[in-house]
């Protein structure tokens, strides 16, 4: 089974389109480097919640192969259950054959009706895939569909378009500021060891080191709850993260120090302005690991860098965009 509560994707803003089956049936999905499974709704889901989404119809695909294996996704408002099946998945023109995926049969609750995406395409490692389902990118590699065993992500800051996932290559026009390669500390998520988080040359969190996941499926910067208060206090925010919009120009750049290199994120990136109010793009979470507390570097961080997820040598490459 899998548990990826829908609220994890509440803030997500970046979506892409894939198709599954022959002929292809289109789905809007989140390309999520923080999970490893592919899920879409299916025609077996007849509730109103699913009625607002594209649903996969196995009988309309000549290449579909079903299984009797069931899966369950906890979506916050209840479980979305379904079955596993195999079919051809078209991602950016690459036909991944015999891709295993989840066909959701029951709705996750009324709120799924409002979800702007149909499903999720996980881009993390097979070790965290539910039901042992081989992730899409692993099949891309094993079927020799990609020139190099890596993919890269660019998230545009303001534009409605321009963002992309590039499979099997690095777009050198996004790496003119150089690439810093960071070895992974675990082959589960895209996880690295972070040395510290500093502002104005002072450690404001992670002073003794911690773990960090680069996750396109998380919008904000998720930090240990124990560190959140100190970050908010250091930046002059209240305990809800609210801050005076007029203070943005006086805020420091925050440095995420990883593998001996500092990766800056300016206040223009980590302060969210909405309806005349400003708040820090940090949220608290508590996940201790054997190697220290876990941080999630979500879209707020990724928008500052062209990120290369390299499966060939298990490294993450970061190239500053400004």
């Amino acid at each position: 089974s899998s548990a990826e509560p829908l609220q994890n994707y509440l803030n997500n803003e970046y979506f892409g389109t894939i198709s599954i089956g022959t002929p292809g049936q289109e789905f809007t999905v989140i390309f999520d480097t923080g999970s490893s499974n592919l899920w879409v709704p299916s025609v077996y889901c007849s509730s109103q919640a699913c009625s607002n989404h594209n649903r996969f119809n196995p009988s309309a695909s000549s290449t579909y192969v079903g299984t009797n294996d069931s899966v369950s996704i906890a979506y916050g408002t209840g479980s979305m259950t379904g079955v596993l099946g195999y079919d051809t998945v078209d991602v950016a023109g690459l036909d991944v054959v015999n891709q295993i995926f989840g066909l959701a049969e029951t709705e996750p609750g009324d709120f799924f009706y409002y979800s702007p995406f149909d499903g999720i395409l996980g881009l993390a490692f097979p070790s965290i895939a539910s039901s042992g389902a081989t992730p899409v990118f692993d099949n891309m590699m094993s079927e020799n569909l990609v020139a190099e065993d890596l993919f890269s992500v660019y998230l545009s800051n303001n534009d409605q378009s321009g963002s992309f996932v590039l499979f099997g290559g690095i777009d050198s026009s996004y790496t003119t500021n150089g690439i810093t390669w960071i070895p992974l500390s675990a082959e589960t998520y895209w996880q690295v060891t972070m040395d510290s988080v500093t502002a104005d040359n002072q450690a404001i969190a992670c002073a003794s080191g911690c773990q960090a996941i680069v996750d396109t499926g998380t919008s904000l910067l998720a930090v240990p709850s124990s560190a959140l208060g100190n970050i908010q206090a250091s930046l002059g925010a209240d305990s809800n993260g609210q801050i005076s919009c007029g203070a943005i120009s006086t805020l420091p750049t925050i440095y995420f120090n990883i593998n001996g290199n500092g990766f800056p994120v300016p206040p223009s990136a980590y302060v969210i302005q909405s309806n005349g109010y400003c708040s820090l793009a940090f949220e608290g979470l508590n996940i201790p690991t054997e190697s220290g507390e876990l941080w999630i570097l979500g879209d707020v961080f990724i928008r500052e860098y062209y990120v290369i997820f390299n499966r060939a040598n298990n490294m993450v490459g970061l190239s500053p965009l400004s």
Partner: protein, 42 residues
């Protein structure tokens, strides 16, 4: 360079729920817990 899939930047589900006046109810019924995604895998 390789196959590239464009990503669209759209309204988040939070924004959509907000516009429909349902965000407060959603968060009340389902307290936001970003850790859940990772705890499940571990």
């Amino acid at each position: 360079l390789g196959p590239r899939i464009p990503l669209r930047k759209q309204k988040s589900m939070r924004r959509i729920l907000q516009e429909h006046g349902l965000l407060e109810q959603y968060l009340k019924e389902h307290p936001y817990n970003p850790a859940a995604k990772y705890l499940a895998a571990t």
